[in-house]
Symmetry: C2
């Protein structure tokens, strides 16, 4: 059972260096002070810090933590219409961490990077009291979609159902394992997928007037779009995950909360210019995704939701760093 302190910084860097990729047209070898690549066009960059004590619920596997950290940074690039090309990974790790556990973590990082098509080309390594994974995603975009641009009348759409990840977090924290439903939810929670293809298609055809990812929770992200664009939203029966519904019924959870205030879901929330709706839907479907219409932007700056036939006003709730504790969302700026 070797720990990182037995391997040492150098041994660890050597191990990592052997697994690093080179950027396109790189002149520097893996493991040099910095990484390089040839690039021509619009570069899009994001970073997302995954912190063990706030982002890693008890019971979450390190491999999944690595996967999720890469997904979070990727999702910010995807929401703007970018395709990941390269990642840098800044790690802080405790010296008593098992080398085996570290390898699991790195495998998760690689799995996600490979899925999204970006190469891990460099990073940094520090020792510290807990695990911190800062993933830097560098991507390319021909066109981008800002958070700003939504107008009253635009169609509000999302790329998937909601509630799954919040239910998965509950399932994980409850410690109830073994039944197929819980396992499925935990799997979803542990392996969220960033909507890269969907974001690229929406940006390419210029159909979206604004876009944001739902990593801070559907409610928080909608309120952010509302605030930035000076619009409200009318939402008619948002798409709810069947598994989340089943789980909520089984354990008496509030499904509305799971759907709107959960977070850690990496769907895209976009507003679509009405004349381009069909084009947008087709493009996203062609890319293997879904574009689900959930409502429209309104002049009235309130967010109204029809939920099981009944209209509600959506509160601006969700995790806020520094104010709330324990669970977090993680917002780039």
């Amino acid at each position: 059972m070797r720990r990182l302190r037995d391997i040492g910084e150098r041994g660890l860097i050597e191990w990592i260096t052997r697994r690093l990729d080179e950027g396109e047209g790189a002149s520097l070898p893996p493991g040099d002070d910095a990484a390089d690549l040839l690039f021509d066009g619009r570069l899009i960059a994001s970073c997302d810090m995954f912190v063990e004590s706030t982002d890693m619920p008890v019971g979450m596997r390190l491999r999944d933590a690595g996967f999720k950290a890469v997904t979070a940074a990727t999702s910010d690039v995807a929401a703007k219409g970018g395709v990941p090309i390269a990642y840098l990974i800044s790690l802080m790790l405790p010296s008593d961490m098992l080398f085996e556990d570290f390898q699991e973590l790195w495998t998760g990082l690689e799995e996600a990077a490979r899925l999204y098509g970006g190469r891990i080309i460099g990073g940094d390594l520090s020792s510290g009291r807990e695990i911190i994974i800062d993933v830097i995603c560098l991507g390319a975009a021909d066109r981008t979609i800002s958070r700003i641009g939504a107008r009253p009348g635009d169609i509000l759409a999302v790329t998937g159902e909601f509630g799954l990840h919040a239910a998965g977090l509950y399932a994980l924290l409850s410690g109830r394992r073994g039944d197929p439903l819980s396992e499925k939810l935990i799997e979803y929670f542990s392996r969220p997928i960033a909507r890269v293809k969907e974001g690229v298609e929406l940006a390419r055809i210029g159909a979206a007037s604004s876009s944001i990812d739902s990593s801070d929770g559907l409610a928080r992200s909608l309120h952010e779009l509302s605030r930035l664009n000076d619009v409200g939203f009318i939402i008619d029966e948002p798409p709810v995950s069947r598994e989340a519904e089943e789980y909520a019924e089984k354990y008496g959870l509030d499904l509305f909360d799971l759907v709107f205030y959960g977070g850690e879901e990496y769907e895209l929330i976009v507003t679509i210019k009405p004349p381009l709706l069909d084009v947008a839907r087709e493009a996203v479907e062609k890319a293997g995704g879904r574009l689900i219409i959930v409502g429209r932007a309104s002049e009235d700056k309130v967010i109204k939701v029809r939920w099981r036939g009944e209209w509600r006003i959506l509160e601006d709730k969700g995790y806020q760093h520094f104010v709330d504790i324990n669970k977090k969302g993680g917002k780039g700026y």
Copy 2:
């Protein structure tokens, strides 16, 4: 006395967003999920994680911590011949941090970014148990200098004197303040400068066969170059800071240790192809820097140092993460 928990994540992001720059030709507004810029050529990227508990000695001001964090990431880009163009800043901050202190920290980040000519265009924000500053530096380079390429006979040169920062750290930790020498050393320690112009010039003229920065300590960096290039070095009386010498005499410190095993100095250590030495020296001087010859690369894989007339073998010592504790170096990969 407002603390971050009183401002909240949103308030803080709003404050930061107002101070963010846009990248060249950006299409996304500051504060969006990701940042973008137009780029054409060789992109060079590094990140460096500054951790309060290991990198911030008691007595260090937050403004200096910010400055130093940016310098560390910049130095990795500089050592490869890159010019910073943009920074992302990933922060983890404790919720009981004073807003005033946060502002100091941010001011230090901005001061350094401005000095090096890069814009702070985005980042990420988390709450946590201590301060963590992950600085991502994106730069441009026409030509780069790898760590690999040194050959026996190449001239070994550095861009400054050594011992200053190690002495400054001692001065800071000793708590002896007030005398001009201590204050000067602490100032140097707190505000190290990355050798951007020197790195760019050396890369541009193609005179350097290898390059590394000395952030892990002169001895560690020399051993790294030795190991990677299968060469040794013969070093003849390395340049020592006069202030470090004075301080070492005054307080009975081992000057050799300060010079070789200190770390946190951001000088460049380069090997120069002999026929290009004069060209290299002139180019660096024209850029306002200095290129100090300290010896040459040898076939014999040992590092020998003439120190005050006496020859010594340089040990491979220096801070190593996970193995050593307290003070660190911080090495990118």
